[in-house]
Symmetry: C2
Subunit: 332 residues, 2 copies
């Protein structure tokens, strides 16, 4: 297994290459595109993102035997769609900041954020259609419509204190998992993977998405705001039911369960005052341990899926394995 | 030439067929899509639109020799993209109504309007990629990015009282023309048209787009609010430079020109009080006549482009010709 430092170095080098491809795209657009639009795109795209989705595209393509540079162009499309989603999400969630600087909608206004997102959408779809064909485009577009559907589901799930584990998994699949899985699957298709290889990479992506989102939800209660850049307990304040809380409600003693439900039934401001108490209740009911165990299991399932690649491309497989394990250690 | 009544009957019958295809799409989505999202889509899509873009797709495909029903499916994709644009535009322009009922953003909120637009975007792109291939998808996506670019250009052009005719044409091409031309071009490609046929239909679409937008701009000053559903002089109040005004500024006597510039230099409220006076100044400087003459010339150019279809498919060619002439007579 490649060590964590090795993984991070590999990821960093690839991310730099992806950034270079995106910069080249923007340069090409310069002659024909409005200067303000370009400024918005530049601001929104180059914000220190880790480029996980493009990286998954490139590694999946290579693992299936394709090493052409177009894989980077295809990877960029996934970053464009991801960025478009963030531009629009920040409007929807009234988020003032993103990675420590003003969000696109805060910096340039709602109009620019909507339009720049639409622009990236179309740019992304066009690229995927060109490089990954009908089949790749359908997966990509299904991931997009699924993400939208997931946002509506989230609106509906808010304040549903009876959310089941299954509903939680459905929601995180749509929110995060679909695009991550699509990056792996489309990369594999582009790379000429066999059906079992494509399926394996999709499975890997689905489980990586689970782990990623569960850790995110754990960090919301347990993270260091100095590292995450987010307030502790945001999800609770917003009435969002995440896995640690769902597990705690399922496993808590009657009195603790009742107390948790009372807190959830209170207004956002009152809940904000109870973040510490809620975290203690989740901890004592085993909600954090249980959620973490599920994240670990997801990572193991994802890694197990890669076993079809028994020979060759050991490097790419190692990086994908390392990336999955790294998700469990992240603190921001 | 098919008479206007015949054209309208043909258009109406085709629009009903397109509506049926869209309803079938929504039915198919029902099992897997959030109920509120479906409600938003239903509300926003079935609002009495004339389905001009899908109609152009279907007629162009048929004119090039293809009569399969998939042309309707492809046509729907253009209506989806058009609707997505309107959902987002109504947020951007703070429009409370659309075709006499509350706009999507007013009825369901900004969040739903952004997300439903994104959903339709992806649905449209996926369909076009599947049915019209890489080449069709690129044209479709270029039209989309061009429309966004045009919105930015419009932001920049606002209150630019020196806007030239050329800049006006560039702006309306991006705002309206690209998607109309794309409907014709992609329909022709899907229909298996030869290169000259594809080019002819694109040219037709470009000129139809010009005529459509110029008439729109004339109706803004000269329309009957009871028919158009819009206040007279909106464009002036918003400081939007349209062709009648641009021509008037170019052709007016110095004193009249100065007066027009004074009105333009005033605030929106003051301009609102001067709509009648401005219309009279445009009229006396020949701005309306000149703009109308350009719309007529655009229609004639569009019709002339169809001459490559010298034999066969007379019906489709007649409807396209009639549609172009009809644009000149519309009063809403």
């Amino acid at each position: 297994m490649v060590q964590v430092e090795g993984i991070l170095a590999a990821v960093k080098a690839e991310a730099a290459k992806i950034d270079a491809y995106m910069r080249a795209d923007l340069s090409r657009l310069q002659a024909t595109t409005d200067a303000l639009l370009l400024e918005v795109l530049d601001y929104g795209l180059f914000n220190g993102g880790k480029r996980v989705r493009p990286l998954l595209v490139v590694l999946s393509a290579r693992l299936c035997g394709h090493s052409g540079d177009d894989a980077y162009t295809l990877g960029c499309a996934f970053e464009y769609l991801h960025a478009a989603t963030l531009f629009h999400d920040d409007i929807i969630d009234h988020s003032a900041t993103r990675r420590g600087k003003p969000s696109v909608c805060r910096q340039f206004g709602t109009v620019a954020a909507i339009l720049a997102g639409d622009f990236l959408h179309a740019l992304a779809m066009s690229t995927v259609g060109r490089l990954a064909g009908d089949k790749g485009l359908k997966i990509f577009c299904d991931a997009t419509t699924g993400m939208v559907d997931g946002e509506f589901m989230q609106l509906r799930n808010a304040e549903n204190h009876k959310l089941s584990e299954q509903q939680y998994y459905d929601a995180i699949t749509m929110k995060t998992g679909l695009l991550i899985a699509a990056a792996c699957e489309v990369g594999a298709i582009y790379g000429g993977g066999t059906d079992p290889q494509v399926k394996a990479l999709r499975d890997y992506g689905v489980h990586l998405g689970y782990a990623f989102q569960i850790i995110d939800d754990l960090l919301d209660y347990l993270g260091n705001p100095g590292r995450t850049g987010k307030m502790v307990g945001n999800d609770l304040v917003e009435g969002k039911m995440t896995l640690p809380l769902i597990l705690a409600l399922n496993q808590a003693e009657p009195r603790e369960k009742e107390r948790l439900l009372t807190i959830l039934g209170a207004g956002g401001e009152e809940r904000a005052a109870c973040v510490g108490e809620t975290a203690a209740l989740i901890e004592s009911a085993g909600g954090f341990r249980g959620a973490r165990a599920q994240a670990v299991a997801a990572v193991e399932s994802g890694i197990a899926a890669l076993q079809v690649f028994s020979s060759g491309s050991t490097y790419e497989r190692n990086v994908l394995e390392g990336l999955a394990r790294y998700v469990l250690t992240r603190d921001k």
